[in-house]
Amino acid sequence: MSATATTGASAHRSPGDWALKVAPWVVLFVILAIVPFQFPSFRVEQFCFWMTLAIAACGLNLLTGYNGQISVGHGALFGIGAYTTGILITEFGVPLFGATVASAVLCFATGILIGLPALRIKGLYLALVTLAVATLFPLLLEQFSAITGGSGGLQITSPQLYRGEMRERPIRLESPVAGLENDQWKYFVFLGITVVIFILSRNLIKSRVGRSLVAVRDNEVAAESSGIPVSQVKIVTFGLSAAIAGIGGSLFALDQGQLYPSSFTIVLSIYILVAVVVGGAASIIGPAIGAVFYGLFSDVIVQQMPDRIQPARAVILGVLLILLMLLAPGGIVGGFRTLQAKWSARRSSALNSGPDPIV
């Protein structure tokens, strides 16, 4: 891994290398820009859902991948973001994306609250507590049905001009651009937010703060002794992670326009975690890849499978997870890096015909 990094950094900045570095980004952006025009509307809306999942996974990755705190409960934070957005818009008439900001703030606060016990509870025990949170969350939604709508769901509505009068109508993101349909507009808005969140989290990870996150993960005592305020770092990471998951949830609410407790069961938490580890924990783009992988798997591939073997989907996913942990614990990104490191090591050893570089 470090070998790749150094070859990349120390490479001569020849135009060819530069092109090689930029080309994938260009290809990626071109693809992302074309996608909404190539698919029917329901697919584009599914992509929007994948993006909300990617954002939540990005948040969880900060916590689990970079800071080493395991949460099996991010589905609940995602849900808090979603319901906050829904309630603010429907009950208090908050503008759509204003509600997103408010959700992020509220989730940050919730994250701090959950982060407090996490100072004393670690590893598997933290996983247990968050698992319990995730299991409890849909029940909480039903318990407080007066504001959440309970199992009947929360219809997110806002006053809209309709046939000449103001009425409570299901929210929708109206496209201001003539050539774009609503779902395509939504796609680009979501894409913009997703990209900004991933870039911000990348910058965070590359910064001094990010290094202290990793230091705390790798060795708390050492981090403490080198002057890193471990408790603060852990709590704030929990808050940030929760806030990002909350933004994902908020967009989910805007995407769906209605919320039901059964969407926020433990299964959602598991899938967010799956997106992180399949894509590659502790890699910036890993969660996005994991979310796309999961989306492809559950919304495209599984739907093509014959009826009788539909339950095999869980088996496939389960076996895949176990194999991944045994063979490529770094997920897709990690596995790819390992392959590349091997390949470049072979190439360099072939070139130098010297001994393999160790460390």
């Binding site: 004393r120 319990a132 924990a281 073997i309 339950p311 991944l324 942990m325």
Partner: protein, 294 residues
């Protein structure tokens, strides 16, 4: 008062089953230091094996033995192919959590593939009969559950305190390196521990299934109660699992009926218990301090 007593007894009966599930969790925790999030699914799977044998005409007790044997194999296999290769749970908690989640999904899906999605009916081991004590009806099934739990605890006590195998298992749990150096084949004992836990889970499943209906989601929420039980009792304490099971059973039966805030979430008392114990007394009531503090 009478309805309180009636509800309390329901809770104690449930508690016996949570304790059984907890025993399995404790056995695994003691041998591998791992919180097995797939324990419930292992139990569900082997309960289906019991059901299959029973519906093929075997007597219930024989079917249960068969299911325990089947569960033992599932547990042992799971340890060999999935858990052992991952490594130390305290060094790589994320990998271990993911593997148990993978097992959770895999076993659940496999059960759906094999047995379909219809809830099956399973007769209560001790029948549907009841005795009335002071105007309160107590099902034989509840009394049976408490007795079976007692027998299980006794057997575990004999195994761990009075056999060479049990001694070896305890040695592995406490210090696997030293255990290995005195000639104990550690991997084989861990495998045995997983098999044992799954076999115990079968009994829990046999008691839960008649009440919840035998479906693939049999254990998904019950497991949280089991975890609450062993958190309260101490992750490494068999006695703790039993005491914890009864307390959790009683609380989650009584509180939702008398405290409005818990009305729709019998799981909440269990959750509060887990959080409070881990925060203020992480070793639980009967656990050893060194083990639970990470």
């Amino acid at each position: 008062m009478r309805d309180f007593l009636q509800i309390l007894l329901v809770g104690i009966g449930d508690g016996a089953v949570y304790a059984m599930l907890g025993l399995g969790l404790v056995v695994i925790y003691r041998s591998t230091g791992l919180l097995n999030f797939a324990q419930g699914e292992m139990a569900m799977f082997s309960t289906f094996i019991v059901w299959t044998m029973w519906s093929l005409g075997l007597p219930m007790w024989l079917a249960i033995l068969g299911g325990m044997a089947g569960g033992f194999c599932v547990g042992a296999l799971v340890h060999q192919v999935a858990v052992r290769p991952v490594g130390d749970p305290h060094e790589k908690p994320l990998a271990v959590v993911i593997v148990t989640i993978g097992l959770f999904l895999g076993l659940n899906g496999a059960a759906q593939l094999i047995w379909g999605t219809l809830d099956r009916s399973m007769p209560p081991l001790f029948g549907r009969g009841q005795v009335t004590v002071f105007g309160v009806a107590v099902a034989w099934q509840k009394i049976g559950a408490v007795i079976v739990l007692g027998v299980m605890v006794l057997l575990f006590y004999l195994l761990f305190q009075h056999t060479k195998l049990g001694l070896a298992m305890r040695a592995v749990a406490s210090n696997s390196e030293s255990a290995s150096l005195v000639g104990i084949p550690v991997p084989r004992l861990l495998m045995l521990g997983w098999g044992l836990a799954a076999a115990v889970g079968t009994v829990a499943g046999v008691f839960i299934a008649p009440n919840l209906g035998l479906g693939t989601n049999l254990m998904q929420l019950t497991l949280i109660f089991g975890f609450a039980a062993i958190t309260l009792g101490g992750f490494d304490s068999l006695v703790g699992a039993v005491v914890g099971g009864f307390v959790v059973g009683a609380l989650s039966s009584v509180m939702p009926r008398y405290i409005t805030i818990f009305e729709k979430m019998p799981l909440a008392p269990a959750f509060i218990l887990i959080l409070a114990v881990l925060l203020f007394r992480p070793e639980g009531l009967f656990g050893k301090k060194q083990v639970t503090r990470v």
